[in-house]
C-alpha cells in the first residue's frame, strides 16, 4: 500500500511534469504569431496542459495520503510549507492554462497569457520538487 502510494505519486509527477515541460518547449518552438493566434501547435498544447492537470489531480490526494499516514516520515516542517506554497502556485497556473484553452475560441485575447503561464508551471514543478527534497530528504 505504501509503495503503491509512492509509485502513484512519482508517476503522477512524471505525467504532470511531462505535460508542463513539453508544453513549455513546444511553446518555445512555435512561431511568435502561433503563440497568440493558435494554429497547429495549439492543439498539441491543449493535450499537454490536460496531461499536466491529470498529474496534479493525482499528486494532491496521493501526497496528502502519504503525509497523513506517515507523519514521522513526512514532517510538516517549514520546507514542507514552502513546498505546499509552490504546489498551490503550480495548481493555480495549470488550472488557469486549462481555462484559457477552454475559452480560447470565445476570448482569443486570453491566449496572450500562455507564454508567461507555461514556463511558470514548469518552473513550479522544479521548485516544488526542490522543497520536497529539502523537507523530507527525498521526493516521496
Amino acid at each position: 500500500m505504501d509503495s503503491a502510494l509512492v509509485i502513484l505519486h512519482v508517476l503522477a509527477l512524471m505525467l504532470g511534469s511531462a505535460g508542463g515541460f513539453a508544453a513549455m518547449l513546444t511553446l518555445g518552438h512555435a512561431r511568435p504569431k502561433q503563440k497568440e493566434k493558435g494554429g497547429a501547435m495549439r492543439g498539441v498544447g491543449r493535450v499537454f496542459s490536460t496531461m499536466s492537470l491529470m498529474g496534479i489531480l493525482v499528486l494532491w490526494p496521493t501526497g496528502i495520503a502519504l503525509v497523513a499516514t506517515h507523519p514521522d516520515e513526512y514532517p510538516l516542517n517549514p520546507m514542507f510549507w514552502m513546498k505546499m506554497g509552490f504546489a498551490i502556485v503550480l495548481t493555480t497556473t495549470t488550472v488557469s492554462i486549462e481555462v484559457i484553452y477552454a475559452r480560447a475560441k470565445q476570448e482569443p485575447d486570453l491566449a496572450r497569457l500562455l507564454p508567461s503561464l507555461k514556463p511558470l508551471a514548469a518552473l513550479s514543478y522544479i521548485v516544488t520538487a526542490v522543497f520536497s527534497v529539502l523537507a523530507f530528504g527525498r521526493f516521496a
Binding site: V10, L11, M14, S17, F21, L25, Q34, V44, I126, S132
Partner: protein, 143 residues
Amino acid sequence: MDQTILDALLIVHFAGLMMGAGGGIGSTIVMGYARSLPEEQAIIVRGAGPALARLSTFGLVLMLVTGGALVQFRYGGFGAMPQMFWVKLVFVATLTLAAILIEVTYAQVKKGNAAAAANLPRLGPVAGISALLAVVFAALAFH
C-alpha cells in the same frame, strides 16, 4: 558526504526525471498528434520532435550521472544495493538504449533519410514503458 550535496544530487536527479519524462512523453504525443493533421500542419508540429527528444536525452544523462553519484555517496556503493535496484537498472538500460536510438533516428531524418522516422512510433513507447518501470522499481527499491 555533506547532506547539502546529497540533497543537491537528489534535486538534480528529479529534475532529470521531469525533463526525461517531458521530452519522452512529449515527443511520442507530438508524433502521434502530427499523424492526425494535414501534411502542411503536421510538418510544423513534427518540428518540435527533435527538441523534445534532446530534452529527454539531457534529462536521462542528468539522471545517470546523479544516480551513480547517489549510489556511491548516499548508499555506499553498488554492492550495498537491494535486488529491486538491479531490476530498475535493467529498465534504465533499455530506456538509455531507446533514447540513443531515438537521437540516432532524428539525426538520420535530418540528413534526409525520411524513412528512418518510421522507427519512432516503436521507440517512443519502448522508452516510455522503460521509464515507467524504472520508476516503479526505484520506489520498490528505496521505500
